[in-house]
Symmetry: D2
Subunit: 135 residues, 4 copies
């Protein structure tokens, strides 16, 4: 399993008139978490884009348990449990200290610059496979 | 079943460097759609808030089928199929003409201003029940 | 002078924990307003991009007078007073009925796809000049 | 003079179809920078809100010099040069290494929870005055 950890400090702009964080921002936090997860595999997302792959989101699920507030210091944990094929599935948990605020997942396709789904090169697949096996 | 329809014109700020709409914006569009759905029931959301109810999102699911682009004219259809109890479930479809771009759902709790889940007053429940039955 | 008018209904996601609209959203509203202004000149922004021009913002100024709230119905007025050269200056006013909420301006350069400032083709310049003179 | 420094890593969601950062995000970055500036004075913004003060933006100016891109590591410098009275003026500079990307400023009023402009308590004023004098 791949596992990474990202620190978030809640921005004022992320709150709404209910006085807590607007639910759409968790998708942006998931995105930051998977970018840091890819960094940790030494396979930064901007390099994947330079090599011609995009990783658009095909599915997203979010389960909100508790509200987050301005200035909260959060941790977003990111997990890849299965080796990606044409798709990759990523799970997330957002915590404020011991409190789980949100649990979710996203699924992504590898596509090329013309928008066609592609199987990424072997080096990318091997990096995921190795990281999943070694933990 | 309750059904409503909301028109969206994609804003430039909603796109990202993949050149299509960032996936988080669909949650904002779902929100606009359910607000217009409540308008259609003559039960506007801001009035529900004034009466002491908030409707935070507990769950969200999104299935992205096709990308949306800057300047696209979209329709967001919003459906309530089951009478709400403490929770309400809403389904959404986003179309560009005949093309389905995204299908999703959200689940909400009625809570009071102190954040406690509550069963809303009978008049709100009756409005939903009547609208679901009559269509 | 060119003058256009754009209708906005404030989205929930645009509010923040102060309970009114976060100030950054006015820049997105200005953007919508100038896109509708260009529509009105029959020179839609997405076509300008297809022809190879981008109009990035070089300067922005905003003067906030009154807060906007969720669900407010606003009008954004957009004005071009001087013929553009390499730059174009646009003024904006945001009103809720008779109340001025915000006054601002943006300045833009015409650049090509490689990021170089360019003077746009004569047809674009002529369209602006004619529209400014005729009103 | 008060001076603070905030680190930003550009988020994917902050880019737009021009492939660089949408100009509205700089206002959110300025906001983060002034929140960290207040932290540095041991006068965190969320505490000021708890004590009954809000600091809404009355004016903002932005001068964009160079584009920022996804994944850029930026520094936002924040300066308070004059002692605040009913208003406070803050200047900002956004750098990528040695390159100035944006220079701007915001002006804020102290208001109370009912939206009335107020002069903040002496302890707040003294903290600003002392920090401005001591640097």
């Amino acid at each position: 399993m791949i596992r990474s950890e990202t620190d978030i400090r809640v921005r004022y702009v992320e709150t709404d008139a209910m006085r807590f964080v607007h639910h759409a921002n968790y998708l942006a936090w998931f995105e930051m978490a998977r970018i840091e997860m890819l960094d940790g595999l030494d396979m930064p997302y901007h390099k994947m884009e330079e090599e011609g792959y995009l990783l658009p989101v095909l599915k997203a699920e979010l389960n909100y348990k508790q509200a987050a507030y301005f200035n909260d210091r959060l941790k977003v944990f990111c997990y890849v449990r299965e080796k990606p094929r044409v798709r990759i599935k990523i799970d997330y948990e957002v915590f404020r200290h011991e409190t789980l605020l949100c649990r979710g997942s996203t699924e992504h396709a590898f596509i090329n610059k013309r928008g066609k789904p592609v199987r990424p090169v072997k080096s990318i697949m091997d990096t995921f496979a190795k990281a999943i096996d070694s933990n």
